[in-house]
Amino acid sequence: MEDYEAQELEFWRKLDEEGMSRSQMLKRSVAAAAGLTVLSSPGIAWARERGIRVSPPLKGSSISMSELVAQAKKEKHLNTIALPPDWANYGQIMSTFQKKYGISITNSNPDGSSAEENQAVQSLKGDSRAPDAVDDGPAFAIAGTAQGLFTRYFVTEFSTIPRAMKDTRGYWTGDYWGAISIGYNSNLVSPGPKTWKDLLNPAYKSKVALNGSPLTSGSAVAGVFSAALANGGSLNNVQPGVDFFAQLKSSGNFIPVQSTPSTVASGQTPISIDWDYLNLGYVKEYPAANWKVVIPSDGVYGAYYCQAINATAPHPWSARLWEEFLYSDQGQLLWLKGYSHPARFQDLAARKVIPASLLSALPAASIYAKVKFASSGQQTAAKALIASSWPSKVGA
């Protein structure tokens, strides 16, 4: 059973659990009836007649693009959160959106985590600074949905997004995915590593780094998954991954420094295990480092992020327009330009709308075909294992 089906069942079970008393039921029915009466009030009825929308639509396909744009323009603004401009080309995506529709974007907390995004939705509820849409890791998208943070919306292209990357009720949709890669400074690292096994080479002493700790960084968790796949583990058992890093540490190859653009450029982290879209970005940004990127052939692990709209968004129309833009061909190709795989990649490839230049900038498609994604159940189990095992095995 898929996770969100499990989640739906959970949702109904919780409702049961709440055990509504009779009086509560009555109160709710009265409220609902009052609501219905309000809805049928003359003012609203008049608006309906004229086709003037008072509330944003559930489906992108039920409204024309020009009308959506017109309504969004009235709001004049969009609040985004946790979108680093150099992450999968978000910088160009945001500026293109602003130029195309004349809607200004306020992007707060560019380095925020998914937890902080959900927290902002909750803490700033009703405030004009609240984020309109979030870009969460799947675990947080699911958790946020259960907490009622998000509202349902089906983008026009919803059907072309793979089933495994979306919530069928419309609460969240996967937007792009990447695979774990090994990036290295070819000036300082010779020979270059190609697989996880290569990383144990004594020539790489104090050279191998992760993008953070797997206790706090999604990229590092993915690194552990990837290492597990390469060392006899599986999506259900990441212990071999933790053990591999323990081995890396005891051999002296692993340094616990978080790899950032500064450490990559300075050579402090000459080998960085990180998302392919981040590592590939470094190649052009820091020519002095002669950065090269490979996807380790013995462990191809991928993960995606998810778009969701804030249920109490201060600019609901802009939020929907933003989603439509992201899932349009133009938006998806901009993500591809940022070296990530957009959710509608198969669809775009089938319709042959992908420029060859973008494809050739990425590693071979044959490697990507082997990619494995973990379900949210597998992720939860892996995180629990890492939380208990990592500090003692890899910690100081």
Binding site: S113, S114, A115, E116, Q119, G137, A139, F140, A143, S206, L210, G212, S213, P214, L215, T216, S217, G218, A220, V221, I255, P256, V257, Q258, T260, S262, T263, S266, G267, Q268, K383, I386, A387, S388, P391, S392, V394, G395, A396
Partner: protein
């Protein structure tokens, strides 16, 4: 009359005393509104479970590995940096303030300390990585010029000792800033009188200087302890959480991209509170003893 008003223990009447309490009201009101409420939420939240209801499981979990190890490491790092920072900070502050040292040195030191006391996080971590990291400036000089390979000898910046070295960078200035006014109170005449009576510098410090300064030193060391205990960003920037420190664990459970258990994070914070409370309980009698000479 005036003297009676100022000594509440004399029979001056309760009216004067209650006025003093009223004077502290704005302060207590402010702390109630902006400190107690969020702090209260932590204390209460520590006892809540993931689903509704109260539970002690969060607290019980604190005593297991790796969390108890995190507390041990945090306390050790904080104690070491507080004591070293305290001692060295006192020496440097005294060196800058004492007679004979040009006044401009004190101004530079005080203002620099103001900035350095809050220089932390990734910029500080990176400054030290650039200095003592595997390819840091000092590491390279030692290796190439003096043929001392630090890392081959087992030194690493990216462990507990490294964190302590880096923490001292903001502990020292804090000590300097806080102890300077107290050193001002160490009258020059006392030093003169002591040396006239034939005391050596050591004897001066042992019998006059340190006892006079001890209450302020103790207060400063407690402040340094709390400062190091709560520090987060620097340790993360340096070791990405490999060195287990309590604030890092809290961050992981509260705002990370991976784990999420806000109530457990609050339990960890409650644990921090207990540690600091114990510190205070040790501090109060020590401080009372140290201030005895002033009575």
């Amino acid at each position: 009359m005036a003297s009676e008003a100022l000594r509440p223990d004399l029979a001056s009447g309760r009216r004067r005393l209650s006025l003093a309490w009223v004077g502290t009201l704005p302060f207590f009101a402010y702390t109630l509104l902006f400190l107690f409420l969020p702090a209260g939420e932590v204390m209460v939240g520590a006892f809540k479970g993931v689903h509704r209801g109260w539970t002690l499981s969060n607290i019980r979990l604190l005593f297991h590995e790796p969390y108890i190890h995190a507390y041990r490491t945090s306390i050790e790092v904080s104690l070491v940096t507080a004591l070293i920072g305290g001692a060295v900070g006192l020496a440097i502050a005294y060196a800058a303030i004492r007679e004979g040292t040009p006044r401009w040195i004190r101004s530079i030191l005080t203002t620099f300390s103001g900035v350095a006391a809050n220089f932390g996080g990734i910029p500080l971590a990176f400054a030290f990585i650039a200095t003592l990291g595997t390819i840091g400036v000092v590491t390279q000089i030692l290796k190439n010029q003096l043929h001392i390979d630090l890392y081959a000898h087992g030194f690493t910046l990216f462990g507990k000792t490294g964190v302590e070295i880096v923490y001292i960078y903001f502990q020292l200035p804090l000590m300097i800033l806080v102890i300077a006014p107290a050193i001002d109170g160490l009258k020059r005449e006392w030093r003169e009188a002591a040396s006239n009576l034939g005391a050596s510098p050591y004897q001066f410090w042992r019998y006059v200087g340190l006892p006079v300064l001890m209450p302020s030193i103790l207060g400063a060391v407690i402040l340094l302890f709390g400062n190091a205990f709560a520090a987060y960003a620097t340790a993360y920037g340096l070791t990405s959480g490999v060195v287990p420190l309590v604030p890092l664990v809290i961050g992981a459970y509260y705002t990370g991209n991976v784990l999420s258990n806000p109530h457990f994070a609050q339990a960890l914070a409650l644990g921090m509170f207990v540690v600091l409370a114990v510190m205070m309980l040790i501090y109060i009698p020590l401080q009372r003893r140290a201030a005895r000479w002033a009575r």
